[in-house]
């Protein structure tokens, strides 16, 4: 490689990756020059994480090439140890070992630290980075990782990706590196990146803090629906221009608008929101500035929970489930989360979006998966009546238009059909409230339209629907949309106000972007365990 100094560090050409029916990355191409800091922006599910995982070889793409430091490889090849290519990645979920000391942690990353004084060698190389990246980090060599705050763990994680080790870093990929860092730490972090960039290290960053990208990076790629749609020069880009690119891009594309598919006019929702029904869910919100506000959900409404992923929607939705009574019309004591006190009248059924972990029972067939939540009304003398179970399953097969046989193993179905089965399970209960956790994630367009239809029918029959969605365009199916930011509801959009652009703009915050500081991955931290 004679002209390494002028060569691009990374060239991505025509990479695609499909998960089931979802095209997560669609013919994406971009380049990162030597010593360049670039950002990748995009709303939920734009394909940022996927493209970066194909770049570092964690997952194999379906097509395209990835050229790192002038050496091309097919994107269909996975790479076991990308660090040998000089590619380092810091993931959002931390990869530190809780029981190790700081210097031992450094040594695990620093393969060059050997010999009797391996700990101090490794600590010296980590501290060299830490002191510059986060002056006054206050991390001691002999601290154990589990004693450290999330912010300090994130500092260690970021710093260890710049340790020289045996193969010095050439390309560092950082996924939301500053989510737990405060303003001064963030500033010094970017100053360090700029300094390393001058030495020739290239960096790719994804973050929802758009201002950071504009202030510190050289170029920003905007992704949407798996495609790299625009490339903006940070010098001329503004927050508005990026937000606009993320949202408006949809209207430039030839993708069919979902409602067009089933011939229903979009304006169905223009009917005035239900205001006279009884209140079934009440969210009392205490925001950081001490204000309290009440949000009420009435019988028969369809309510959307929107915002960036991990900003408290899931927490609120789960709280509604936990606060629900066991039987229709019943009461139960309110449930508290960090920001909300939730009280509910009536029972609820929950449709999980994370089908693999929180939804399906993989060893069973579709019939057993559908009837599971309704077994109470299918039993006589303690035994499940096969005829009633069969009838219930068949009823929901036809109501939801599920294809195939009820005796097929659930794992043999496509993601969309599995999702329908989960909807059937929850709807068959006939509960007062239906809670949906991003039910259309990874589901094809046709199924989505069917789901929207179905939800409107259920609401018309008097079921209250609370719907957490990461796909902003589908929020137009809701009567009202609550937009979440940093754990609290910051806006309520009614009917036609709930446009994609409005949701995106609100979820990134108008002028008060500082609110996002120290937000951290809220849901991930509190609900996963």
């Amino acid at each position: 490689m004679p002209d390494e100094s002028t060569q691009d560090t990374l060239v991505v050409q025509g990479v695609s990756k499909r998960f089931g029916s979802t095209l997560a990355v669609d013919d994406a191409s971009f380049t990162v020059g030597r010593g360049e800091l670039i950002g990748i922006a995009g709303h939920n599910g734009a394909g940022k994480s996927t493209i970066l995982k194909v770049v570092n070889g964690t997952i194999a793409g379906d097509s395209g090439t990835v050229t790192i430091g002038g050496t091309p490889r097919s994107a269909t090849d996975a790479v076991a140890h990308p660090e040998h290519l000089g590619v380092r990645t810091v993931y959002q979920e931390l990869s530190l070992c809780a029981s190790l000391r700081v210097d031992e942690t450094a040594a695990i990353f620093d393969h060059a630290a050997k010999g009797l004084s391996w700990r101090s060698k490794a600590w010296r190389s980590l501290r060299a980075v830490l002191d510059e990246m986060f002056p006054g980090h206050g991390i001691r060599q002999d601290a154990t990782i589990h004693e450290l705050s999330i912010a300090r763990r994130q500092m260690i994680e970021c710093a260890s990706s710049f340790i020289e080790s045996t193969t010095p870093p050439r390309l560092v990929i950082l996924d939301e590196p500053t989510s737990s860092l405060d303003a001064s730490a963030t500033a010094s972090f970017y100053a360090y990146l700029e300094k390393r960039a001058a030495d020739g290290v290239s960096v790719i960053i994804t973050t929802h803090r758009l201002q950071e990208m504009i202030d510190h990076l050289s170029r920003i790629y905007v992704m949407r629906d798996g495609r790299v749609l625009s490339e903006q020069d940070a010098a001329t880009a503004t927050k508005d221009s990026i937000v606009a690119a993320m949202g408006l891009a949809a209207h430039e594309s030839e993708r069919p608008v979902p409602e067009a598919a089933d011939g229903l006019p979009v304006s169905t929702i223009d009917a005035p929101p239900v205001t006279d029904g009884e209140v079934v869910v009440r969210l009392e919100q205490q925001s950081a500035d001490g204000n309290t506000a009440d949000f009420e959900i009435r019988k028969g409404e369809i309510i959307g929970f929107a915002g960036l992923e991990g900003h408290g929607q899931l927490l609120a939705l789960e709280a509604v489930y936990r606060a629900s009574a066991r039987r229709s019309g019943g009461h139960r004591s309110p449930k508290r989360t960090t920001h909300h006190s939730v009280s509910v009248v009536g029972d609820s059924a929950y449709v999980s979006g994370d089908r693999g972990v929180r939804g399906i029972f993989p060893l069973w067939d579709v019939a057993a998966n559908i009837s599971f939540s309704s077994l109470g009304k299918l039993t006589a003398a303690g035994l499940i009546k096969p005829r009633s179970e069969g009838a219930l399953v068949n009823e929901w097969y036809s109501r939801l238009g599920i294809k195939g046989s009820p005796t097929d193993p659930i794992t043999s179905l496509s993601g969309g059909t599995q999702q329908k089965a989960l909807m059937a399970r929850a709807m068959a209960v006939g509960s007062d409230i239906l809670l949906l956790e991003d039910p259309t994630r990874g589901v094809d367009q046709a199924t989505k339209s069917e789901v929207y239809d179905l939800l409107r029918r259920q609401a018309a029959e008097g079921q209250t629907i609370v719907w957490y969605s990461t796909e902003n365009e589908e929020l137009r199916n809701c009567d009202r949309v609550f937009v979440f930011r940093v754990g609290t509801i910051v806006a309520t959009l009614t009917g036609t106000e709930a446009t994609e652009d409005a949701v995106i703009a609100l979820s990134f915050g108008g002028q008060d972007a500082e609110l996002l500081d120290g937000a951290g991955p809220l849901d991930a931290e509190e609900s996963v365990r």
Binding site: Y350, T379, L383, N394, T407
Partner: protein, 337 residues
């Protein structure tokens, strides 16, 4: 509709895999059923005994079914504990059996009129032991291994101290019951089959059983579908204790009276029959028909080893290796884990 009906009409224990109406497919379904290897193994060893030792086949199987019944009863409890998942395992069964054997025999004191009281005490003692395990595991948060082992050692000590002061005798009628035969058919063996069928129905055809399997597959998914994983798991430990208690008193009746080593071989064997029967060790799928076949297989294996004068060492090796080999070869339909 017809599809679903055929599925639901097959016997409960066999209903985990759907059946298609064609004959070839039906044969394939039977062959692919997780319990099939256990049945094949059982028959192979049964025939081997006939060929090697020249013993009557009927006589062999009827003796085998009687002795296997104790293992079936303990094994069912173990199966529920393993099926609720989360690393579930009950290592206290052998100690529960021994203690309840002593308790019941003291109460029965050789009198037929005390049979009901004796059995009741044995079962209640087992349920109580299981409840202690359940509290330690689900509410204190101990790993199942440690919780049940700790309870087991506690019971062992109680047994050691307590057994020194009492001499109990099983009620003669109960002893006769465990060995009685109608013609060539052992009554107690039939009891074992009936118990197995009853629990197969509980596991596959009641909402409790469905919850047991659901919690074992995906506890989080179950909790979002109106099941309470901690309670379901706790109930399995209680059930296992009760079953071990019942097995203990019956075994004492069969062998004439309690002894300190009464339950010891059942600790491994109860796990072995679950694994052999095609249930998943990680939980989520329990196969009681397979467990029954596995219990008979293991019993006949011991018979075969005795006939061929195989030393006790070999019997241990075969039992232990069987578990590890079956585990190593078994398919895991749950990709994760």
């Amino acid at each position: 509709m017809t599809d679903l009906d055929t599925r639901l009409k097959t016997s409960p224990a066999e209903s985990t895999k759907p059946g298609r109406p064609t004959l070839g497919a039906a044969v394939l379904t039977v062959l692919k059923h997780p319990a099939t290897p256990a049945f094949i193994g059982m028959i192979a060893i049964w025939l081997a005994i006939g060929i090697i030792a020249g013993r009557g086949l009927v006589e062999t199987i009827s003796a085998g079914i009687i002795i296997a019944t104790f293992l079936v009863i303990v094994g069912i409890g173990q199966l529920f504990v393993i099926t609720v998942g989360n690393g579930g395992i009950d290592l206290s069964v052998s100690y529960v059996m021994t203690l309840s054997a002593f308790l019941a025999c003291q109460i029965m004191a050789g009198e037929n009129s005390n049979i009901v009281a004796g059995i009741l005490v044995a079962v209640v003692a087992g349920l109580a032991a299981g409840a202690v395990s359940a509290v330690l595991i689900e509410f204190v948060g101990m790993p199942p291994l440690v919780g049940t082992l700790a309870v087991g050692f506690g019971l062992q000590t109680i047994t050691l101290v307590y057994s020194g002061s009492v001499v109990g005798v099983a009620a003669p009628a109960l002893s006769q019951f465990t060995t009685a035969q109608i013609g060539p058919i052992p009554i107690f063996g039939i009891v074992g089959v009936v118990i197995a069928v009853a629990f197969a129905i509980i596991l596959k055809r009641t909402s409790y059983g469905r919850r047991v399997e659901a919690v074992g597959q995906k506890p989080v998914a179950a909790s979002f579908a109106n099941a309470r994983p901690a309670l379901i798991r706790a109930s399995a430990y209680v059930l296992s204790g009760g079953m071990a208690g019942l097995a203990g008193v019956l075994l004492a009746a069969y062998s004439g009276g309690p002894s300190l080593g009464l339950g010891s071989s059942y600790q491994l064997a109860s796990i072995a029959v679950v694994v052999l029967g095609g249930s998943l060790i990680a939980g989520g799928r329990g196969i009681i028909s397979g467990l029954w076949a596995g219990a008979v297989l293991l019993t006949l294996l011991t018979t075969l080893a005795n006939i061929t004068r195989l030393s006790g060492g070999w019997q241990f090796i075969i039992q232990g290796a069987l578990i590890v080999i079956v585990l190593a070869l078994a398919r895991n339909p749950m990709a994760r884990r």
